[in-house]
């Protein structure tokens, strides 16, 4: 298991509700775009529960195991919390980990779906960037992915390339909290 480091970008691809989750393929393409644009600047660690491990494997599979690690189910909760404090940044959905990272001052990029009103539910903080889609059906307040009449267009239409560039702009903007 890779050691925590300041070069580590945590990827939290799953919340406890699929309607809030950016597509797995988008997370995979995001990592590919980041590696293409920033080389080995970062190590990427997927975090989540044991039950999410198989799905996380779909994200990690194309990448060298030395640069992209699947840590889902491998970290005890205190280890996750500790890693949030040492990592470079976290990229996640509207999920508990994104909120926890934001509250702790960790650079957080939250890909926020349209089921909830982002003004009410977004992770807050000066070190947070919220990526969302302005779309006519949001907020839908739906609970289940299968109920979405537009197949989660609010998340599907957020392109991995856009998020990759936004993330690099974000981390290049100013020294992190830890560096300051």
């Amino acid at each position: 298991m890779p050691e925590p480091s300041a070069r580590e970008v945590l990827i939290a691809p799953f919340s406890n509700s699929a309607i809030r989750d950016w597509p797995v393929a988008h997370f995979r393409d995001l990592i590919a775009a980041l590696i293409e644009r920033s080389g080995d600047r970062f190590h990427y660690a997927l975090v989540g529960t044991r039950n999410q491990r198989l799905a996380a494997a779909e994200i990690a599979r194309p990448f060298p195991s030395a640069q992209v690690s699947n840590l889902c189910g491998k970290l005890a909760w205190p280890e996750v919390v500790a890693r949030l404090h040492t990592c470079e940044a976290l990229i996640g959905n509207n999920s508990g980990l994104s909120h926890l990272a934001a509250q702790g001052g960790t650079r957080t990029m939250c890909i926020f779906g349209g089921s909830h009103n982002r003004m009410e539910w977004r992770p807050q903080g000066r070190h947070v960037r919220v990526v969302s889609r302005a779309i006519g059906c949001s907020p839908c307040q739906l609970d289940h992915k299968a109920s979405s009449p537009y197949d989660k267009a609010c998340l599907r239409q957020i392109s991995p390339d856009f998020v990759a560039q936004a993330f690099l702009d974000f981390v290049n903007e100013a020294p992190s909290r830890k560096a300051a």
Binding site: A57, A60, R133, I135, G136, S147, Y150, D151, S159
Partner: protein, 498 residues
């Protein structure tokens, strides 16, 4: 790989759990220590013995070995067992310092599931190979015998269906599209929270003395939060001295948005907007706050030259507000009794009851069994205390005649009254915490003479309850929200979009 090393690998597998698979094909390739790539496909059996544990990129290694197996062929992977060969749980390996990982059977399978596409393989064997293992060997000696984990995968043709999520419930027509956004173009945006430090603050508090006094804690809190800011307050003439005496403000501006005596003259804050701006002159502010709770003065902020504006209400009501504390401006209603009026048309009737113009009339001539002749309106009621007052008149009094009036909640009778004419009754009842469906009924009574009556609907009264905050609390909540949006988390600002 040197021939003797090859032979050693194959020899070790003979007699072990993987032997049947080793003998399953003619073409056997072995993964060498030099890391040379195997030809893609073609091999009946690929053997990777004690290789994976040294591979830096286990995913790529497993993917390459798997790709070298012909469909139907087998990949045999062996690694040393952490509990047998190493007899430790943590790296570094005592026996092979360059070993990358220690393995249990689960860990080996984990790496396979991560590396290989689901359903491109089947696990045919996962076993501990502890043949001739001497469990009595002391720790300071290398254990003798086999101490491996053996994994055999069979390559299969992946089916043409992917592992799918639950299918959508909407027709395919809508899937893949997205709705147009009525008020702005569909786009992806990035937002961040930004705080700001207002240096010039305008507070608007044009109401009367009592209101001003109630607001003093909120006004003091503003000064506490923005100790170094220049704070201007606008008050009615009648509060100028009181405002100056607080010592909280750098400037006090007198402006009467209301008549001094509102009970004698009709207030019209909206009509004073132009005069208000004239009074402010060229002043510019970083933050303008309307601390009045009632919405009628919010309009005064609309054209104030301020970077940000704050007040109670919603942006839907006041689009010019940047910081708004949503409140229900009908907040007084829960403290008052609610009254609902029902017309005869809200009720059904049958039997001796029939509609006549704007009433339901029931005749005493027909003696019936216990029978509801009027019923309705089936309205859902919130929890609370109620009284239903049916508008009912007996046209022809009869000492023995009667009908039964009742109220039912969720079809269960909760209150009843025998009506023989005379004064309209009141039927009190309570609705429990889950709410209930309300029904009122008029019954004829078996064995009893009915009465001639007219039914005109009724009035349902709900008792009020405390559902408001104190004016001071509303204002202090607004001030705390201002603190959050300026000094703490900040307010969302769009960074860019695409």
């Amino acid at each position: 790989m040197p021939l003797d090393e090859q032979q050693d690998v194959l020899t070790r597998l003979i007699g072990g759990p993987a032997e049947p698979y080793l003998r399953s094909g003619r073409l056997i390739r072995q993964v060498g220590s030099g890391g040379a790539a195997l030809p893609v496909e073609g091999a009946d059996v690929v053997v990777a013995a004690h290789r994976l544990q040294f591979a830096e990129d286990y995913r790529r290694s497993l993917q390459e070995w798997h790709a070298a197996v012909a469909v139907g062929g087998h990949l045999i992977v062996t690694v040393t067992h952490a509990f047998l060969y190493e007899r430790q749980m943590f790296l570094p390996s005592r026996r092979h310092p360059d070993q990358q990982r220690l393995y249990s059977p689960r860990m080996l399978l984990d790496e396979v599931e991560e590396a290989l596409i689901p359903n491109s393989y089947r696990v045919r064997l996962l076993a501990d190979d502890d043949r001739e293992y001497d469990y009595t060997t002391p720790l300071d000696h290398n254990a003798r015998g086999h101490g491996d984990i053996v994994l055999v995968l069979q390559r299969i043709v992946a089916p043409n269906w992917p592992l799918a999520d639950r299918p959508p419930t909407f027709p395919a027509l809508l899937l893949g599209s997205e709705p147009e956004y009525a008020f702005e173009p569909v786009r992806t945006r990035v937002e961040r929270d930004r705080g700001f430090a207002p240096q010039r603050i305008l507070l608007v508090k044009p109401d009367h003395l009592g209101d001003f006094v109630i607001s003093l804690p909120a006004l003091a809190r503003m000064r506490e939060l923005f100790a170094d800011a220049h704070i201007t307050i606008v008050v009615g003439n009648w509060n100028v001295d009181a405002a100056r005496e607080t010592g909280l403000f750098d400037e006090v501006i007198a402006f009467d948005a209301f008549p001094r005596n509102s009970s004698e003259n009709e207030p019209d804050p909206r009509g004073t907007v132009a005069a208000f701006h004239q009074r402010l002159g060229d002043r510019q502010f970083d933050l303008a706050v309307d601390l009045r709770v009632d919405p009628d003065t919010r309009i005064l902020l609309r054209d104030v030259r301020a970077v940000r504006k704050a007040g109670l209400g919603t942006r839907g009501q006041f689009p010019f507000l940047d910081i708004f504390l949503p409140i229900d401006f009908n907040r007084g209603a829960p403290d008052m009794a609610h009254e609902f009026r029902f017309a005869p048309g809200d009720f059904q009737c049958q039997g001796s009851a029939a509609r006549h113009g704007f009433r339901i009339a029931s005749s005493a001539d027909t003696v019936e069994r216990n029978c509801a002749v009027v019923w309705g309106p089936y309205r859902w009621l919130l929890p609370g205390r109620y009284i239903f007052e049916p508008f009912i008149e007996g046209r022809d009094g009869s000492a023995d005649g009667k009908v039964l009036l009742d109220v039912a909640l969720d079809t269960r009778r909760v209150v009843e009254f025998a009506f023989s004419g005379g004064k309209m009754p009141q039927l009190p009842f309570d609705v429990g915490p889950d709410g209930a469906s309300f029904e009122f009924r008029i019954w004829t009574v078996e064995g009893a003479v009915s009465i001639d009556l007219d039914f005109f609907g009724g009035r349902l009264i709900r008792a009020g309850g405390a559902g408001v905050l104190h004016q001071n609390e509303y204002q202090q909540l607004l001030v705390e929200l201002i603190r959050l949006r300026t000094m703490d988390t900040g307010a969302p600002t769009e960074v860019y979009d695409a």
